[in-house]
Amino acid sequence: MRAVVSVIGKDGVGIMANVSKKCAEVDANIVDVSQTIMQEMFCMVMLVEIDKLKVEYTSFVDVMEKYGKELGLTIHVMHEDIFKSMHTI
């Protein structure tokens, strides 16, 4: 199973490093990253494997969202199926 971690907010130094570190702490393996700056906003989308998480998936969701608030960013963790179902036929 894979989840999409999306990070949106004001650009700054070390966002990618910080979020990756947080993923590594719970054994969330990053399999793909896409990052861009849109109208001075930092937008990053990570695809992570969640099968071997050290913690419950739902607490991973909470941890990442809370961490986003600490950094002043909006972080969402959502199961990849929602995007697949909405955007593919």
């Binding site: 999409v4 949106i8 995007f83 955007h87």
Partner: protein, 452 residues
Amino acid sequence: MLNVNNILETIKMIDEEDLDVRTITMGISLLDCADSDIDKSCEKIYNKITEKAKHLVAVGEQIEKEYGIPIINKRISVTPISMLVAVSGGDPVKYAHTLEKCAQAVGVNFIGGFSALVQKGCAAGDRELMEAIPRALAETEHVCASVNVGSTKAGINMNAVELMGRVVKEAAELTKDRNCIGAAKLVVFCNAPEDNPFMAGAFHGIGEPDCVLHVGVSGPGVVRAALAKAPKDLPMDQIADIIKKTAFKITRMGQMVGAIASQRLNVPFGIVDLSLAPTPAVGDSVAYILEEMGLDSCGAYGTTACLAMLNDAVKKGGVMASSSVGGLSGAFIPVSEDAGMIAAVRNGTLSLEKLEAMTAVCSVGLDMVVLPGDTTADVISGIIADEAAIGMVNSKTTAVRAIPAIGKKVGDELEFGGLLGSGPVMNINQTSCNVMIQRKGKIPAPIQSLKN
């Protein structure tokens, strides 16, 4: 890898445009709970509902968390209670109290099915149930009631129309110190669907399986946002295309949530109701969609045409996205739940007559309309009869959820709070239709009924 723009689009829909799954509704048959002893019947109902729905709320919340998609309501619909009253006799309000206990025990937002289907006439239990509705709604918080008074096949039962005018008025009077909330939990239908997940009109039809899970999607804000990006000179057919594409995405999400929820609850998946259901949140409004199409205000000439196209495009987009579409499916136009409708009533552009015209092309009918408190029961029956006639002739569902604001007059407001919103008391035509309503009897089924 998934397309980043698609991911950001979905996140924006949820965060900024109020995309949500409006409800997951578990339909539960109570036919096997009927007993000639009303207390035994109530006990069986309590046991069955609390067993079947014990995980409903928890599973809903789990899916919300995992997929990041809000599921606003978890609800239950049950077999029309009039059928159980037919077997047991006794005071139907006892059943309402049992349903209320069930709702509180499993933690759902609403439970629907304090209902009777009387389009062709009253059988045992029907009249008792209808007369008990005002008390049932006043003495409970989560129970919703509905009565089907007409259908294209059967015509309109004018005895029931006459009675329901009085029932609506009494439901409001018994709850006048609580913003007449009783009448807001009561719907009078023509052509009521048996698999509707939306309240207050949900009930579990007798053709349905023992237990089933329906999903109602929403998303007026998403459609509005998509139309806002369209240039002002884009032809109407291309506007329809944008609506179709958006409805497809919304429905796919509902389909996915429904499939997962039914699997986890081990209950068959029923239908996706692809409705645009507004909320009082600014932006999450069907009226704003119509205005985005190019009307200065909802209620202007052109409103009915825009709504007809919207309703049709939502269905066309949604139907391919789901394996099983049902319920009401289309655009709702509840006045008090829609910021744009409320504004249009306040500024005088949206009248009850225009709303009535809109109900000929929307998915339901006159919904959450606040009437002056001194409106007579006959006038309310007249409104019900007109709506039922539109539904009967057009082979569509129509309904009336009107709230007489006891003690208030035109220009005052009723505050329901939550998803029910607040509504200004509308100025309506109070001309008497007493003689016509008191004739009672029935309006015969129209020629459209002879399809065989």
